[in-house]
């Protein structure tokens, strides 16, 4: 006879522990447990059956893996937390007794935990870490904008400012910014670092106050982790890029609100590797006289450095010129035939986008936010200047002749008393609204400035991250309307790659449609025959496809009713499980479609309204 199995000795009952049990096992307070969970990235799990995991009780509890908790028991941080508890007791005792000297010595030997082992454990490879810095960056940027209070010590804010600036510097230096988006919540950025898309959100520059229902302790614990993580990630990024980390900070510039400009990127000189760590230490620990001198020098050469950065890629303007020349209409078959080399693949898109603003010099009017636009413009190779009211360290002054664009966010005003020189300067420059910069970045090309001129009503600002599939696409609506007037040659003017992608997408789409068709047997055969006929006649494949899809759309409407009847009947024979799944999918589709229909209806009514308004004055 087999051994009788006792209840609760194996399976889910052993694999999961409740939170209370975990706290009791670790012999720490709940607050400490939470802190540990945050630091170690341990989160509750959902057992398949809550009853089985909780010994038959169905009380609402959160479950953790027993293994996770067992690992936590060996955590050095837990030990440190216990030490800290003892320390706190000792300290309060000493303070209560008025033993100041012993309190002081206790305070000096306060236990401090380090998180580097946790970073290593949670992110075994650098890519893992890089993939997970989104939240960290958001937090760093948020706390960099917060005022320091009794709960937020100024060192913390300073560190956040430093980390966020270092990240921005790195992104600017490597030109890895890809997309940006002005949202009502803040500015979204997306950078591509080591093939990882890192996106972060920066709030607009307004004073934030921490709402009372937010637990600051939790945020601080997360921030602790993120600070360490960001530090290590930035160290790795900087050293891989051959830069000194941490970049030396010029305190004088920082006091003048130079922002990112207060840090100077320094190349690691490989000639004297022995001396570098020394200087590095000196810089990081405290500014020695030597370092100060060097910093002063770097200030002097900041402008030249800028030039140097642009000079790093001297061929860039030519590239851009080439790109904006519309390609000759190469036929699709040819472009498919020419195999892209590795070099062309790696170089082409980068030169396209990263040096977008290289030929231009921008000047920022004082109402637009300097940190945003300095970051945006400089990460696409442009030069930018700003008035002294936005902080010092501007490389370009107001009356510089090289300024091509002025980013201005003011309504248009009359300028009665304007000197001729000012007027000529004004006419030479292009005045654009801030959205132009971001739209250019997202489009990957310089857009016409007219639509974004000062005082004009801006075109809608769309998300570069796209919508969920199947959602309403504001651009598609236009295309459907204009599809008749739109000639086929127009999209060719755009980049070839995109065209190609579109094409393949179309192809696959139609194919999918074909496959999805229920009357496959007849239709596909007919299609193939028609295709052969078209090929024989020498009709372009693309044109043929379009015709097919058009006709398909027409025929589909008629076919659909017949088909659906058959499908409905076949649904009877689905198993229960399949039926439920099917219903779920259909439900979500219907919901999405209805959402889309609502927006489309709104658009139609808006268009009607606009038409009526345009007619009435006439």
């Amino acid at each position: 006879m087999a051994k009788i199995k006792q209840k609760g000795k194996a399976g889910a009952a052993k694999a999961y522990v409740t939170r209370t049990a975990a706290v009791r096992k670790l012999q720490c307070s709940l607050a400490d447990f939470r802190r540990l969970c945050i630091l170690k990235g341990i989160f509750p799990r959902e057992p398949k059956s809550r009853k089985k995991a909780n010994k038959g009780s169905s009380a609402p509890t959160s479950f953790y893996y027993a293994k996770d908790i067992a690992y936590l028991a060996h955590e050095p941080v837990l030990k440190k937390l216990r030490e800290h508890k003892a320390f706190a007791k000792k300290l309060s005792r000493a303070l209560g007794r008025g033993e100041w000297s012993s309190a002081k010595s206790l305070e000096e030997n306060k236990p401090i935990y380090r998180l580097d082992h946790i970073i290593k454990e949670r992110y075994p490879t650098f890519i893992d870490a890089l993939r997970d810095i989104d939240d960290g960056l958001c937090m760093a940027f948020l706390f960099a904008s917060l005022p320091s209070t009794s709960r937020l010590p100024p060192e913390l804010i300073e560190n956040c400012v430093r980390l966020s600036s270092e990240w921005q510097l790195y992104v600017m230096h490597t030109r890895s910014l890809r997309k940006s988006f002005f949202s009502i919540k803040g500015v979204y950025y997306q950078a591509e670092v080591m093939d990882q898309h890192v996106s972060w959100l920066v709030p607009y520059q307004f004073t934030q106050s921490i709402p009372p229902d937010v637990d600051v302790r939790v945020m601080m614990t997360f921030l602790e982790l993120y600070q360490t993580l960001l530090g290590f990630v930035l160290f790795k990024l900087y050293t891989d890029a051959g830069l000194v980390y941490p970049p030396p900070l010029d305190s004088k510039k920082e006091e003048g609100a130079a922002g990112v400009g207060a840090y100077s990127l320094q190349k690691v000189t490989p000639v004297q590797p022995a001396t570098i760590p020394q200087t590095q230490n000196a810089d990081s620990v405290r500014a020695s006289s030597k370092a100060v001198q060097r910093a002063i020098k770097s200030i002097g050469s900041s402008a030249t450095k800028e030039a140097g950065l642009t000079a790093d890629t001297p061929e860039s303007p030519e590239d851009i010129d080439e790109d904006f020349v519309p390609h000759q209409s190469t036929s699709d078959s040819q472009s498919v035939a020419t195999l892209p080399t590795l070099k062309s693949i790696s170089s082409l898109p980068q030169t396209l986008t990263t040096n977008l603003f290289a030929p231009y010099t921008f000047f920022l009017s004082r109402e637009s936010s300097r940190p945003i636009f300095e970051f945006l413009v400089r990460s696409f190779g442009g030069r930018i200047g700003w008035p002294a009211s936005s902080g010092n360290g501007s490389p370009v002054s107001d009356d510089d002749e090289s300024i091509t664009h002025v980013i201005i966010d003011r309504p248009l005003v009359e300028r009665p008393n304007e000197t001729a020189e000012e007027r000529s300067r004004r006419l030479r420059r292009k005045y654009v609204q801030p959205q132009w910069v971001v739209d250019c970045i997202n489009a990957g090309k310089i857009l016409l400035e007219d639509a974004y001129a000062q005082g004009k009503t801006l075109p809608p600002h769309l998300s570069p991250f796209g919508e969920r599939d199947g959602a309403y696409d504001p651009l598609a609506g236009d295309q459907i309307e204009d599809s008749d007037s739109e000639s086929e040659e127009e999209p060719v003017a755009e980049e070839e790659g995109e065209e190609e992608e579109e094409h393949t997408a179309k192809l696959s789409a139609t194919r999918a449609i074909d496959l999805g068709d229920m009357d496959v047997t007849e239709d596909s055969e007919a299609l193939r025959a028609a295709e052969l006929a078209a090929e024989a006649a020498g009709v372009d494949y693309g044109a043929f496809e379009k015709a097919v899809s058009k006709s398909g759309r027409k025929s589909k409407t008629t076919n659909q009713t017949v088909e659906e009847g058959g499908d409905d009947m076949n649904k009877m024979l689905m198993s229960n499980k399949q039926r439920k799944l099917y219903e779920k999918i259909q439900h979500s589709r219907r919901k999405r479609d209805s959402e889309r229909a609502v927006i489309e209806a709104k658009k139609r009514s808006l268009q009607k309204k606009a038409k009526r308004e345009s007619k009435t004055p006439k």
Binding site: I38, G41, I42, F43, P44, E46, S62, E108, K110, I112, R114, K120, R122, Y123, T125, D134, D135, C138, F181, S183, I184, Q190, Y204, Q208, S209, I210, V214, V218, M219, G231, F232, K236, Y245, P246, S284, V285, D409, P434, P460, H461, L462, S463, F465, G466, P474, G516, M518, G566, M569, N570, K571, M574, Q578, L581, Y582, I585, I599, E600, K602, K603
Partner: protein
């Protein structure tokens, strides 16, 4: 303590005074005692006088003795002086005592002539009580003592004085007098009523002072000084004790340095020398240095799954979205009314004409916080995202077009004007249909044309109509309340008619078998007309309406089910022997339907939830099918006899493969209301189901002979055309024997023929 001391001194002094002359010796003793008492004091004085010299000359005893003697003398003198002062005070306080003291101890009596008796008597002077004598009876004229004075309320006197004379009640004025007295006498408020003398007695100045002090919360004694200087009797300067309490020598540890302490200190010193302890440790404030943490080889264990990233913003989050994204007032209101956790989006799209007009987002920190809560408090579940075309889930079945023929249109309909067409039956040759309704009308009409040939009227509603499957005879059975009527249709050949007549009303009745409660009443062919049933079976009383009947394929046996609760209502009638029998003595549950197996001597009985298969020849239960239906409405068996379909009022249709299992091979639920009727086509691979939703579903059902191939069920067509009346739809469907045509009877009174 000092006060007590003083009093005791006084007492002693009085003793001395009293007994001075009596004995001189005790006074000397007394003095010695007195000296002893003060010796401490003198010592203190002594020490005070030579403070620092105590240690220097501890052993000079003789001198100290002599000094003491001298001191004794001086102290004596002082004492005497004190005594004299005390005497003075006494004299001042009461001179009477002085005079008494100056006299003898026992006062002399005077001889006086008594006023009352007129004889001389000795009168002693009145005793003047001393300080400590009871003063309460001092000069009270009334000597009644401490009694309730209201005893004297009704008497003219208030007591007796010391000589036994009555003390008369003093005159007391009325209230007006009292008032006048208070007005006249300014000091009357200082008087208090004395109960003993029954009159107001002015309070003395001392008494008033006491009252005043009590009123102020002070000590009532005027002489009491709460701030008296402390008299240090045993402590203070000059009175320190020098003599040790114990004679034990001082232990060594008091002055020898500790060995253990030294060892401890040396341990620390050694540790410092060896560098194990840093005395001035550099502060741990030194900044945390980052290093290349990922340079060494990565650990082999799997990294934890990365947290899901928050979704990226869409167009509606833009500060300047296309106008169609902006919410209408209605949408805005709805958004505001929903709880924050129920909202689909945590923001409302807004449009700003310029970037400078965009305000700060007030929910920013909260959103970050919620994200963090999600990260560490929310359980994460890995879900496989199903990204499939839902159409692939629908099973691929052959197209209905390839499975023709099947009925797909309504060719004609026959109307029962009055009631619901409850039941129908198609003749075995497929040319005639008999339909019965709830008003008791049974109509015979042609399938092709729909023309009514004959109509029969019965009492009560018709529960069943079933045509005998035999081809050589032609008749059908109609079930009404507790009766089964056998009818012969018109327009049949004479041969068939005569055979039918001889079958149903034989000239010589077979011998009546065992008595049954069922009566077989035949009408002789001579008296028979087309309007009347030729044979009527009277079912037992209170057996109710027969609801279902099934002919055995040979047409000799007929099984009927009645809707009464008694006996299960199942009867099998044998035509040739004119005999009926109840196959089951008792049956569990109410029987819904019965069926003969098309090939074997088996019998299906459907109760409310189960279908039982009996072997009639062996008289035993073969199988119990469990369709899992709450209430079975109908069942039919495939002509091959291996497959059974069961329909239920809970919309389910179950297909059983009898070879396979007791559980259904397939459960279909496609009707929206209860299934009423099922029928397999006798020759075509078709079956139909009808439902209360007014629709008829036609299925293709191909059954294969090899056991490995599953039966193929293909839904072919939904026939709609019946209207739903009183929540009843199509009540019965029957196939026309040789064609793929379907006849259906609906609750709306229509009987419809569906053709292919």
């Amino acid at each position: 303590m000092p006060g007590l001391e003083v009093e005791s001194k006084r007492r002693k002094r009085r003793h001395e005074e009293g007994q001075d002359e009596l004995d001189a010796e005790p006074s000397a003793l007394h003095r010695n005692g007195h000296l002893e008492m003060l010796s401490d004091d003198e010592d203190g004085n002594d020490i005070q006088s030579d403070d620092g010299q105590v240690d220097q000359f501890p052993e000079i005893h003789t001198e100290s003795d002599s000094e003491e003697e001298e001191k004794e003398e001086t102290s004596d003198e002082e004492d005497e002086e004190e005594d004299e002062e005390d005497k003075d005070e006494d004299e001042e306080s009461d001179s009477a005592s002085d005079s008494a003291e100056s006299l003898h101890v026992f006062p002399k009596a005077k001889t006086v002539m008594s006023e009352i008796t007129g004889q001389p008597k000795l009168v002693y002077p009145e005793i003047e009580p001393d300080y400590d004598s009871d003063s309460s009876t001092e000069d009270a004229p009334n000597r009644v003592g401490d009694i309730p004075m209201h005893w004297y309320d009704d008497l003219p006197h208030i007591g007796y004085d010391v000589n036994g004379r009555k003390v008369l009640r003093p005159a007391r004025g009325d209230e007006l007098d009292k008032f006048l007295q208070t007005v006249d006498d300014p000091s009357s408020w200082t008087a208090a009523f004395d109960k003993n003398t029954q009159m107001d007695k002015p309070l003395s100045a001392e008494e008033l002072d006491i009252i005043h002090r009590l009123y102020k919360g002070e000590n009532p004694d005027a002489n009491y000084d709460p701030y008296e200087p402390t008299i240090e009797w045993f402590t203070g300067k000059g009175k320190e004790e020098v003599m040790p309490l114990s004679a034990a020598p001082e232990p060594k540890r008091r002055w020898v340095p500790s060995k253990w302490e030294k060892q401890k200190v040396m341990k620390i010193v050694r540790a410092i020398r060896q560098g194990r302890i840093l005395p001035s440790k550099p502060k741990s404030k030194a900044k945390f240095e980052f290093y290349s943490i990922w340079n060494d080889t990565p650990s082999t264990h799997q990294p934890p799954l990365p947290a899901p990233k928050p979704p990226l913003p869409t167009n509606s989050e833009s500060y300047n979205p296309p106008e169609e994204y902006l919410p209408t007032d209605e949408e805005r209101k709805r958004w505001e009314e929903t709880d924050p956790e129920d909202r689909e989006r945590d923001y409302l799209p807004q449009k700003y004409s310029a970037l400078r007009l965009v305000p700060g987002y007030d929910q920013f920190i909260k959103e970050r916080f919620h994200r963090q809560l999600d990260l560490y408090l929310a359980p994460r579940v890995q879900r496989v995202k199903i990204n499939i075309d839902p159409k692939t889930l629908i099973p691929k079945l052959p197209s209905p077009n390839n499975l023709k023929p099947f009925p797909n249109y309504k060719s004609l309909h026959f109307i029962h004007a009055k009631g619901r067409a409850r039941c129908i039956s198609v003749s075995p040759d497929g040319a005639w249909v008999v339909s019965g309704d709830e008003e008791g009308i049974a109509s015979l009409w042609e399938v092709n044309v729909g023309r009514e040939i004959q109509r029969w009227q019965f009492e009560g509603r018709i529960g069943l109509i079933e045509w005998c499957p035999r081809l050589d005879v032609s008749y059908f059975v109609v079930g009404t309340e507790e009766k089964l009527h056998f009818l012969i249709p018109p327009n049949i050949t004479n041969a068939v008619l005569s055979l039918t007549q001889s079958l149903l009303a034989p000239s010589s009745l077979p011998p009546p078998p065992n008595p049954t409660p069922i009566k077989w009443n035949s009408v002789s062919p001579n008296h028979w007309s087309l309007d009347k049933p030729i044979l009527t079976l009277a079912l037992p009383d209170s057996s109710g309406l027969p609801i279902q009947a099934h002919w055995h394929r040979k047409g000799d046996y007929l099984a009927t089910v009645s809707n009464s609760k008694t006996h299960g209502g199942v009867w099998i009638h044998q035509l040739s022997r004119r005999h009926s029998q109840a196959p089951f003595k008792r049956i569990k549950g109410t029987v819904q339907a019965v069926l003969f197996h098309p090939l074997k001597p088996h019998f299906f009985v459907a109760t409310q939830q189960y279908v039982r298969l009996y072997n009639l020849s062996e008289q035993k239960l073969l199988k119990t099918l469990m369709p899992g239906i709450k209430w079975i409405s109908s069942l039919d068996v495939h002509p091959s006899g291996d497959h059974v379909i069961v329909g239920g009022y809970d919309r389910k249709l179950c297909w059983f493969d009898l070879e396979l299992s007791d559980k259904p091979y397939k459960v279909l639920r496609y009707h929206t209301r209860a299934i009423r009727s099922l029928h397999f086509h006798p020759t075509y691979p078709l079956f139909a189901s009808s439902s209360d939703d007014g629709s008829i579903q036609i299925f293709h059902s191909r059954v294969y002979n090899d056991l490995l191939t599953d039966p193929l069920i293909v839904p072919l067509k939904i026939l709609r055309g019946h209207s739903v009346k009183d929540q009843l739809g199509v009540l019965q469907v029957r196939w026309c024997g040789k064609h793929p045509w379907l006849v259906s009877a609906g609750a709306d009174g229509h009987v419809v023929v569906w053709c292919s």
